[in-house]
Each structure stands twice: as C-alpha cells, then as structure tokens.
Symmetry: C2
C-alpha cells in the first residue's frame, strides 16, 4: 500500500482511472443476452489534464515519455515541438509540464529517467486557470488547483493502464452429462470466467445457458445469463454482441460469466470436442489465514475466503452472476473482510473513488441513502486499517461536496428522510419495512457519517469543518433517543412520521446503536433481550444485516450465541451444498425457493460478497 516514490509508474488524475475502469466493468452486466448498464448517473474522467513536476537536477538527463492521449511538453513554460517520446532535461531548477487530451480513456503519463520518474509526488490539474496579461505572459495572480497524481501498479511504459485485464488460468470441468438435447457441464464449484470450446467445427448455432445451480442452467427460459453464438466454418459470430471473429480449432467466449454449471445446446451440424474455461481473477496475496479445531468453522472461513476472492475483481462487486456492479453497502463489508484476508488497499481505494463519481452530486450513492452513509464510514475505516493519510487528503474535498448534498436535504429537525429520487434501502426483508418519514436507522448512519466527517476534517487540518461537523453530529445524536427510544419497548422504534413515533421495532437501528455506542449500558443490555434475541422482531434474512446483528451481539459479550448462529446460518448454506455464500438465506425456505429473488426463479446470487463476512466474524 505504501507507495515507494521515484519508482516510475503510470499516473493520472486521482479517481479518474478508477471511474473509467469502473464504467468498463459496470457496463459489462448482461441479462439473458441484453446489455444492462447501471441505473444511476455514470461519471466520466477529465479529458484534458496537466501533469507537472518541479525539478532540481544535478546533471542533465534524458527521460522516456509514454502517454495515453495526445500531449504536449512544456519546459519552463516553453512548448516543445510535437509530442516527444524522449526529451533531455537540462541541469538545474526547472518546471516540467505535460498536458494530455484523451476522451476515450483517462489521460495517463509514464516518465522514466535517471532521477526523474512519474510517481505519486507529481501534481495534476484539470483546469489550470491561467491569467494572461496584455504582454501575453501568464500573470502572477494565476491560480491552479493541483492534486497529487493517482497511480496503481503499472510500472513499465508498455503496461498501459487502459489495457488492464484481470488474470486468467485454465480450469477443467468435473462432470459432464447428456441432458435433453444438450450437455450439462459442472465445474464443481461456483466460478467466473470464459467458456472455452475445444475442437470446434461445422456450421450452426451454439446456445450456452449458465447456472449457479443445475436447475438454473437447465432452465433455458429463465436462467439469468446465456450466450448464443453462430459458427460458420472458421468464423464465430457472438449473436448478442454482433461480433464476428476468426478462430482455428478453439474458441473462447468474448465475455466472462459467473456459473458453476453450463448447459450447452449445439445444432447437429456443429461439433465440439471438449469444454473447459478460463478462470478470471484479480491476483491478490492471501495474507490472512485462519484455522481452529472446529472443521465446520474452518470450512466457513474457506468458503468465505473464496466468495471474497470471486467478488474482489477490478473492484469489490456485489455478486458475480447478476449485477457485477459496485454497491456502497456491499463494498464496505468487502473492505472489512479484505483487511483480514488480502489487505489489498488499492482495491479499497479504487472502489471508494468509483462509488463517489464526480460532482455535481445529483443522487445518493447508487441512489441509496444508506449507501451514501456507508461511503463516508468506509473512508475513516480505511484510514484506521491502513494509516493512508494521503488518500484522506485526496478524497476529503469529495466528502465535503457529498455531505453538502446530504445536509441540503435534511428536514427542519436536521434529520434525513426519503425524498423523491432517494432509495431508502435498509435491507431486503421478508416482511414489510416502512420507508416513510424519519427512519431511526438512517439517522444513526447519518450521525456516524457526521462524526466521520469531523474525524477526517481533523486529519486534513480543516478546523472549521471539524467544528462544524462535530457540532452537527452532536446535535443529531442528542435527538436520537428523544425521537426514537421507546421506554415500554426498551428499544429504538423503526421510524417517526410527522413527529409521531411509530409502534414498530426493527433490528437495524438498535444493533447499529450498540456498536456505535449511542446507548448507555442499561439500554444496550435491554436491547439484547428486547430486540436482538427476541424472535418476535422481524428476522433478518440477508447475511448483509446478519453480519451487523452478530457484531452487535459480540459487542454485548454474546460470543457463544454468535458462534452458534454462525454454525447454524452459514453452516446451513454449506449443508445445502453452497460452494460460495449467498445473497440471502432464509432457513424457512425449501429447495428451489432458495434460488429465487426479485420475483425471478434464479434471481438470487449464490456468490455474494456480503455472504462472505463470516470471515470477519471468525
């Protein structure tokens, strides 16, 4: 995570590569052969940026310049002819500026010299405001807002950032059987990659139906993803993408899919010798390990780790089959697990940048109010785990504008409630969750976000901001109990509408208030019995919120209960044959009910990042 300065690496405007790469990824979702982009605003990189470095060279040196985009080179304000690939810098103090235009991919720069190398110490701006006086010289009163450059790990001129691809390696099927008119191929466990057809010959159509379950793969009408290709001697046309490619003997599908099973129907005039796949993954180090004397817990860790790895890709995504999108609420749990298993800080930062997008803020993160709050929380979490102060400095201005948006939408009580265009999510619940008025859950997250703002303001020496956010957090926290605590129920109620406390108690705000420490000891202990261990309160059926529920129980000293719950809830999924953890698991459901969600028979993701946090609880 710590960047070794003066090692040459590709640099860009901070957040811009991340946003661009995220768009590439978010726009790879398909649903039964149809392209399915996100339904929130897609941001874009700055198309013209200028990199600069103040130099002080003992001797002249030649630098090698590699660029993504059209560019110029300015030494001490003087433009050089053309776009030089090599350039000799004279000894002494000099200003080197390189300005790049690139609409299609982020402007990026790589410079390698004896002592002059692009790294995180370079400055970059997207609008160098220059003042020109009558003589044509830039005036002294010009002002430019510079940021420290962004980077990842592209450390040679040839490794162009826009060419980044995840790694792949061949993987074999474990079982193949003839079913109906085709073949059902089983890769033995949930996986992600490109189907590889060996010895392809003939003319005709091949239909591939993917499934996380055999039921899904065999249900050609309702499986969530599929591919259709047309073979014509030495050419294959991908019928969804309308792309034709030449091949010889073997053909790899163009887009990667998530599946354990694939059901392949081949027209009689087409022959395939063998079907394998290219497993596609982000190379990460497994830094965290876990072993104990309970084999079930060990298995839960292993399956959690595998679930995590499958969903740790260009970014931390939700699930691998369906959305393959970056969602803020899902991501914050991935970050936490990541700290304990991969400690891959770059993936955390990439995901945070992508989720933030660009100003102006026109909606909540992923359009979801709670997800905006998790975004704030994730930054201080990241700082605590990494100590990466530079990142907080880079992202802080973007925290401020997002918080401006939130504060601009508070009601006269200083509380948030769902306005037109806001999605108040909380959780997927098997029962009615009222989303109207002031939800105690949203206020608790809002309050924690304001505290986070104050902490980060302090880190970047914004004293005015620190005082402002601390005051706002304090004001809101003082209102929480009067607004939502119900003495007779010994719990925070779910919401308040037009000043009226509702009668409903749900788990969400109660469990968060426990580990955010918004309650006194008596109240916390009361909540344990009145809410957390009370079967009359609407049960949580997503691992997403079960995680926080168990965190609250841990905070209340209920480690034994948590262990029991883990072995039951995550253990149950294993007993049902899970090879990765699911988006949702309701023990009351049976058989193929476990596959359905969103009103679709296979809508549920069986490999979902938020299913994997058993890791963390371990």
């Amino acid at each position: 995570m710590k960047f070794k300065n003066n090692t040459p690496t590709w640099i860009w405007y901070p957040g811009d590569y991340e946003i661009w790469l995220g768009n590439e990824m978010n726009n790879r979702r398909t649903e039964r052969g149809a392209f399915f982009p996100p339904f929130w605003k897609t941001a874009s990189h700055y198309v013209v940026v200028e990199f600069s470095k103040r130099l002080n060279l003992a001797a002249s040196e030649e630098i090698e310049i590699a660029v993504e985009g059209r560019y110029n080179v300015k030494l001490d304000g003087k433009l050089q002819f053309g776009s030089p690939k090599r350039f000799t810098l004279p000894a002494g103090e000099h200003n080197l500026n390189i300005k790049i235009h690139n609409q299609a991919t982020p402007p990026a720069l790589f410079i390698k010299g004896k002592t002059v190398n692009t790294d995180a110490t370079w400055k970059v701006t997207f609008e160098d405001k220059e003042w020109i006086d009558e003589s044509g010289k830039a005036s002294d009163t010009s002002v430019t807002i510079y940021m420290d450059a962004g980077y990842w790990n592209f450390n040679t001129a040839e490794q162009k950032p826009s060419q980044f691809r995840l790694a792949t390696k061949p993987q074999q099927a474990v079982k193949e059987e003839k079913v109906k008119d085709g073949k059902l191929i089983d890769f033995g466990k949930e996986t992600f990659g490109y189907i590889y057809l060996h010895g392809l010959k003939g003319n005709g159509t091949i239909n591939l139906y993917y499934g996380e379950s055999p039921e899904e793969a065999l249900d050609t009408e309702y499986c969530e993803t599929l591919d259709r290709i047309y073979v014509d001697s030495n050419k294959v046309t991908d019928l969804a993408l309308d792309v034709t490619t030449d091949f010889k003997d073997d053909y790899t599908l163009i887009e990667s899919k998530a599946f354990r099973y694939v059901y392949i129907e081949v027209s009689p005039s087409v022959r395939i010798d063998r079907v394998t796949m290219l497993y596609e993954y982000l190379p990460v180090d497994y830094r965290g390990t876990f072993r104990c004397n309970d084999e079930e817990i060990n298995k839960i860790w292993d399956i959690g780790a595998y679930t995590m790895h499958l969903t740790t890709r260009e970014f931390f995504i939700d699930g691998i089959k369906r959305d393959r999108w970056v969602w803020s609420g899902d991501a914050i749990q991935s970050y936490l697990m990541n700290y304990y298993i991969f400690f891959d800080c770059e993936s955390v930062k990439r995901t945070i940048w992508l989720l933030r997008g660009k100003d102006p803020v026109t909606s909540h993160s992923n359009t979801i109010m709670d997800y905006t709050f998790y975004w704030f929380l994730s930054i201080y979490d990241y700082y605590i785990y990494s100590g990466d102060h530079a990142f907080v400095v880079q992202i802080y201005p973007h925290m401020v504008t997002l918080m401006d948006y939130v504060i601009g939408r508070t009601n006269p009580n200083g509380m948030v409630e769902g306005m037109i265009g806001d999605w108040v999510f909380v959780d997927w619940a098997d029962g009615f969750l009222d989303k109207k008025g002031e939800l105690s859950f949203e206020q608790v997250l809002f309050c924690k976000s304001l505290e986070t703002m104050a902490l980060c303001a302090k880190l970047v020496d914004d004293e005015e901001g620190m005082n402002k956010y601390a005051q706002l957090a304090n004001n809101l926290q003082e209102k929480l109990l009067p607004a939502f605590w119900d003495e007779s129920k010994q719990a925070l109620v779910h919401n308040r509408i037009h000043g009226e406390k509702s009668d409903t108690v749900t788990r969400y705000s109660n469990m968060f208030s426990v580990f955010f420490n918004y309650l006194n000891e008596n109240q916390k202990q009361a909540i344990k019995t009145s809410v957390l261990l009370n079967d009359d309160i609407l049960k949580i059926t997503t691992p997403y919120m079960r995680f926080y529920e168990l965190e609250a129980l841990c905070a209340l000293g209920e480690q034994e209960e948590v262990m029991k719950e883990m072995k039951s809830y995550w253990g149950d999924m294993l007993r049902l044959g899970a090879t990765t953890f699911w988006e949702k698991y309701n023990p009351d459901e049976k058989g193929i009910e476990h596959l359905a969600m969103y009103g679709r028979p296979y809508g549920k993701s069986l490999c979902h990042a938020w299913g994997g946090q058993a890791l963390f609880i371990c």
Copy 2:
C-alpha cells in the same frame, strides 16, 4: 431552424454532442508544432444515456436502429436479446426505451420506421433513477428527469454524428516565388485548409511555415504555425503528430491551418510538382445580402462576410490562425452577424452549449467574468431572432446554475469583482485598464444578465425565478448611478475600490449603458461628448469594442459619425491590404507593428470574427 418532427434524424443528450465536437475542435490548436489545448476545464458528454418514446401504433411496424455505442432495447420494460438492428413494434400503446453506453463519442441514436422515427420529441435522460421494490419491479415512486433530445442534421443511418467533418474543395495558389532556400506560395487571400502536395517524390524533410503575411511565412523562427514532414519513398511521417501514412503521388497534410502564404523548404532529395490546398469550410447559405452606392462600404461588407464565413466552423471561433477556440465574448458578436448573413441557428445553439459545458461550474466562461455575462445575453438575443422557445427550455436549468455561481461570488454590495481565478478581461487595450475592485463595466453586464434571467424565467414559466432575478436586477440597477456616475465628469467612472469612486473614465460601461438604456436622455447626450467623442479618453483599438462604441453612437443618432468611422477604421485595414478583418487595429501603428500582439511578432490574428462586425453596422 424549425425542426420538422418525424423526419428521422440522429439524436443525443442535448448539449452532449456539441460539447464533444467542441472538445475535438478546441483540441486541434497547435503552436509551432506543439499541441495546445484550452486552459479552462474541458467538459465531457454523459457516457450512459437512455432514450425513450411513448408509442401508440395503429399497426405493427418494423424499425431500423442505428446506434453509436453499445445498447439495449426495452419494450414495455422487457429487455430484448442482444442489440437488435431491426425490431418489430407491435400495434397499440407501448414504451420503447433504448439505453446506450459510449465513452469515446456521445451516445447517439437513429431510428427509422414507417411512423416511428427519432426526432426532437424523443426523451432522454442520463440517470433514470429507478426504485426497485422487493418484488423486483420498478416502484411507482421512481423519478426520472427527462430532456427533449438534441439533434442537428444527420438524417440517415450512415451519417454518424461522430464522423462529422467540415466540407472541403480544392483551391489554387495565385503566386509562387523562390525565396531563400524555398518557395513562398501565395493563395491570394486569407484562407483555411489542408496543404496538398502534388507529385511528391524522394526521401527527406519538408518544412512548411504558414503566414497570414509574407513576413510571417518567411520567419521560420517566429511564425505561429508550421508543419514538418518526412518523406520516405511511399510513406510520409508527420513529425509533430508522429503519424506515418502511405501515399501515392499526392499527399495532403493531416491538420488544417489558416494562412494566406506558405513558405516551403524541401530537402534536396525531395521533389514536389505543385502545391495547392483543400479549402475547408462549413456549408452555409448566404441569406443576407447588402449593396449600396458606396463601393468601399460594399467592400467592407464583403470582407466582413468572408471573415465571418472563415470563423463560422464547427462552432463560431475567435480567429482562424491561432486559438481556433470558442470564446463567449467573441461568439456573441458572431451570433449577431450570423443573424444577418447566414441565419444558421444550429451554429448558434452548438456554440452556446459548448460554452456552457457541464456542472459544477468551477470558473467563468473561458475563465473570463465578462464572458459569462455575454453568455446569458446571447440566449435571449437568440430567442428574439429565432423564436426558438424549445431551446430556452432546454438551456434554462444551465443558466440557473451558472447564475448561482455568479451570485455566490458577489460582494456585500451585491456587486461582482475579480476574485482569485477570475479573469476580468474587458478588452485588449493599448493603455492601463485597472481590473481591481468593482468595475462599472462588469456591473452593467451583470445587471443585464439578471434582466435576461428574468426574461428567460418568464419564458419557461418559472415565476419564482422571474421575481427573484427581476428583483436582483432592479436592486443592482438602482446602485449603478450612485456608485459610478461622476457629475463633474458627466460619465460613469471605470471602477470603485473599497467604496471609493476612481478618477478614471473609460468608454466601456458608458457605451453599454447607452444602449442598455441605464441612463436618462441628458446623461446619454452628455456621454456622447464627455466620453464617446472625447479623444482624451483611452481609445479603443479592437474591432470588438469599436463595434459596441459605434452601436452606442448609433443609439445616440450619430449615424453620420459612425459611417465616417467605419470607412476610416475598417477602410484603413483594407487600404493596408487586409483580405479579412483583424483582431486589433491601431491606426497609430506602422508596417509590421500591425502583425504583432501578445509580445509575439505575429501573435495577432488577421482573420478574427470580431473584426467582421462591420457587417452588422452596415
């Protein structure tokens, strides 16, 4: 200008194609072989947008779909397989949605059917906020902000908007002479295009030095633009662009340049038979004509019209040699001239969109305070000339956010003054122009901008906005005379610093106040002698501000004086051999002094849009 609905045409998110095309153009500036992008923030198009149309079809029909980008097709919410190029719409009421992702060029759509065709009645959004309820259905409380689609004149599937190029036609040189080691070629008048080398043979370098004057073309050290190419049998490498292309006999330079003269140096081993050019232009109709019994005035009109046509390109640019950028203050004068000669409304709208860019507003238009104000003024002007109400509706939200920016930077007196990052331009003056404190000129433009906001608010039925802006305009107008009118000087003074009226009088605010009607009759008449016809007041040396000066004199009934001035000022340029009008003309200068500006010997543009408004005065 009026759009004929239901004629199929390519559509996009309004402003997005204009911003993208403008970036292409603004990023074509070069300075002596170096790439020279603008120094203000470059905006970018929305990379994912959704087009939609509510249909009511008497009979089913097949549509042809052409798209720039990857896309999906949804009929009544159901995604269709792949990205169909033909699709059959059933009879009856239906919702058709097409969502497109395109990073490199703006997402654009063309649909042609029997009755269903893409046109300005289609809706488009960049963030269709959907709410998804537990059942997976979009909820009723979803909200989407739709705009009417943007379009131009790409009326067949093959005419992809991203492929747009200006027209070209061959043009011959009128004179060729051997000078020093090369040849000086004269095209007879200022022109714009691509040098065309006939019968190119051999191996070696060719240097091309462009000049608006022979002095510039022959000054290989200081001419503003040049090209260097290297010929190697049947390949040419453009050394600035580092692009190698095959050729046979003839070679056309890759980038177009502005010039009358080109000086060509060819290495001994290279032969060129003949040099011509491809003149590059926007095809427009000459709708306005002018003829009178004064041949000098007729000539001024003709040269003005030619200057206008050269600077009327993808957008209205400033001058053709140097910047080739879109500047708001220059553009508003081009719009006015355009109404009288081409009446090309699409070019006006394109330029207004490009100048506005995207939110958030982080600086003034082109970084210049006065240019922001001209931008507001240009919209109501355009409405008055065109009656195009739909455009005002599309652009109004963008006027509001720009005005929010301006109002957010007013001082406690409600006036604007230059803050860090603001360029207070006014004019290029041959003398000191104080830019500090409250300039009367900027307040006059600000006041007119607020009036414009009120007028446009009324046009779009924003009653609250109308009242707000009218009130602000009124408040400011009431402060103008108390703040700046000097009874002893019978004029508005130039500025006020810390509440102190300055002693200086300049022409700018005085002439604008005349034709904006911010003065009473006595004051106006007083200004005529105390300022406009007073040789002790700093003289204007740009056609840019001379235009407004003459407009003020016309408003005061001084047509005779204006005629005299026109024949003298613009007539003088003709007598000096101008074939287009200049960026600046100071009658006190001599010989090559006329070529210099910005501290560079050929810095001045000899074909500048704001030189051409003699047209309008005619």
